[in-house]
Symmetry: C2
Subunit: 337 residues, 2 copies
DNA sequence: CTGTTAGCGCGTTCAA
DNA sequence: TTGAACGCGCTAACAG
């Protein structure tokens, strides 16, 4: 309960001026050794600690970065935030957290809150249904830089970190081809998703490289519900050409697809093999994990995004109209067992 | 880049005093309608927004609560923080995040950081190996209340929210007994863990209620590694009395145990059934999920913890030496399918 | 109804 | 080597 000591307090006790105390505590060169030690001594005794809120206020800088994510219970994001938080922490920054729960309005109010709290910068992964970006563009006026990652707005002048799905997809198809599969299906996500388009590109690309022709029937899409995935599976399994391997849009899709296949009495990894994109942790716990997963490095993305933001913050007012676009390559990881 | 307008600025333009502006913006009763509307009008035009850091500083209150968790990639904690964040958000508070990664030193520095940032209060789930609580007790001097949840220090005068494992364990054993099982094993965690002790109590209690006698051989413990769990399974399966059901310390243990059982050619849910404590999301994805899970309500715990903290913050300086101890009852949830 | 003054705690001129 | 004075933006006590 005892009030925390302030610089003034120390000054009074020592019969010196507050500025002397301030300087002494900062090891300012122009302070006599005696006074300096005297001040530092008493400061320690009293347990003096600078009032950060005063400093934030006065310096107009909070050493705080705001992080807005859709959903922390998604493994992808909870891993990503570890990367963010660790990097921030390492650089003496602090993380203000907000979840949009994939709701644009909520996202808006969070941006507002963060702006009010005077965060130095923002790291954002968009809510699924955000179509209006005004609440982000407005931040320019306040000179609050934003780095997006993973879910990125379609805007020209932004900083972002993302992971290219095409490379991983190529690797995935290559992997299946190497295993001898020739009829490889793909259960993609909704067509309009950029992530879906990248997957298609990778798929085609891999086939093309091997001079295999592309059969549009092998490309189906799911609305990402279980039912949607089951429907997609039904479509694939009804083809005359027998599909022996499937690239699934993500782990959820893969698990639903596996479930469907098992219901149809197909032997997983014998009659049909799966490859997926990692967003669940326990491939090694589930009985029939995908043979391999395309890894998107969420921790690394978080880390890169934070480093980028910190760079932006350091290069004071640089107004350099350069925009960071960091694109990692996804990578296939073959599951053991 | 244009400097944000301040109260002073508005005052100057309108040839009134800053305090008038301040009051007008706050709808103070003593301000004339004309001036009030005039001020509010210009404020809107100029896009005035109060500088929170100034207010924080002046009010000595930040509307920020610090949250320290071991690991966000644990589903339990990422769900918990949703409860925390949602509740905080609802009450105009903001969440400052820190992960200890189960490291006591890191935990300490985070506490320090949060104190410096002048959080109004703290919500903490302890790092696994934290044995020294000085960094938390010190907070009393700074008048920063702490509410612990789930992982709680052994200290007398603290606020906390926890979940009682005994009730859920009783329900779990009851459930198995009702299914006809008589030889029910338990793979517990390390003996010294409070959580383990509660589980044992529940186990014994359930048997006792049904006047069944307790066989100590049925109670084994795992160090929570896969190997440890396999060893525990080996021990249980080597017994002369054939174990037909097992209560596993948590989902990880359950999955490892299931894996072991399958290796030994046991039919899951036929030869042997499992019940577990929920800490993984996708029981319904894994091929052989536990029949039922003891739910610990992480979201609710986070919510309760936050509500408790906010209450503490509201009851200004109440110094009421009452300590909140909120204990939820865990509850068995039978998995569909 | 409105203006003046003061002060939150700190860093930073400018002067001595 | 030190001190006095000022200002960051805002609220509040005190006058009028």
């Amino acid at each position: 309960m005892a009030k925390l000591p302030t610089i003034k307090e120390i000054a009074k006790r020592l019969h010196v001026s507050p500025s002397t105390v301030s300087r002494a505590l900062h090891d300012h060169y122009s302070i006599g050794l005696k006074t300096k030690t005297m001040v530092q001594q008493l400061a320690k005794e009293l347990g003096y600690e600078p009032n950060q809120t005063a400093i934030f206020f006065q310096q107009n800088k909070t050493f705080t970065i705001g992080v807005i994510l859709p959903e922390l219970s998604e493994a992808f994001f909870s891993t990503a935030i570890s990367g963010i938080e660790d990097t921030a922490h390492k650089n003496k920054y602090t993380v203000l957290l907000g979840q949009s729960h994939d709701d644009e309005d909520r996202e808006k109010t969070i941006v507002e809150t963060m702006k009010n709290h005077r965060v130095d910068g923002l790291i954002v992964s968009l809510a699924k249904n955000t179509v209006n970006y005004a609440h982000f563009e407005m931040l320019k006026k306040y000179n609050i830089p934003v780095v997006f990652f993973d879910r990125i707005p379609k805007l020209p002048n932004i900083h972002y970190v993302a992971c290219n799905m095409e490379s991983g997809t190529i690797q995935a198809v290559d992997f299946l081809l190497a295993k001898g599969h020739r009829i490889i299906g793909m259960i993609n996500g909704p067509d309009k998703l950029f992530a879906s388009q990248e997957r298609v590109k990778g798929y085609m690309n891999a086939l093309h490289k091997k001079r295999l022709k592309y059969d549009p029937n092998l490309l189906v899409s799911s609305n990402l519900t279980r039912a949607g995935t089951h429907a997609a599976m039904a479509q694939l399994l009804s083809l005359k050409r027998k599909v022996t391997a499937i690239v699934a849009f993500n782990d959820y899709v893969a698990l639903d697809a596996v479930q469907y296949a098992r219901e149809k009495k197909l032997k997983i990894n014998k009659d049909i093999a799966f490859v997926s994109y990692a967003n669940l942790p326990l491939s090694n716990y589930t009985a029939f994990p995908p043979l391999a997963s395309v890894e998107q490095f969420p921790y690394l993305q978080g880390q890169k995004a934070t480093e980028t933001l910190l760079e932006l913050l350091d290069s004071k007012e640089d107004k350099s109209s350069a925009y960071y676009k960091i694109i990692l390559d996804s990578q296939l990881v073959v599951n053991k067992y």
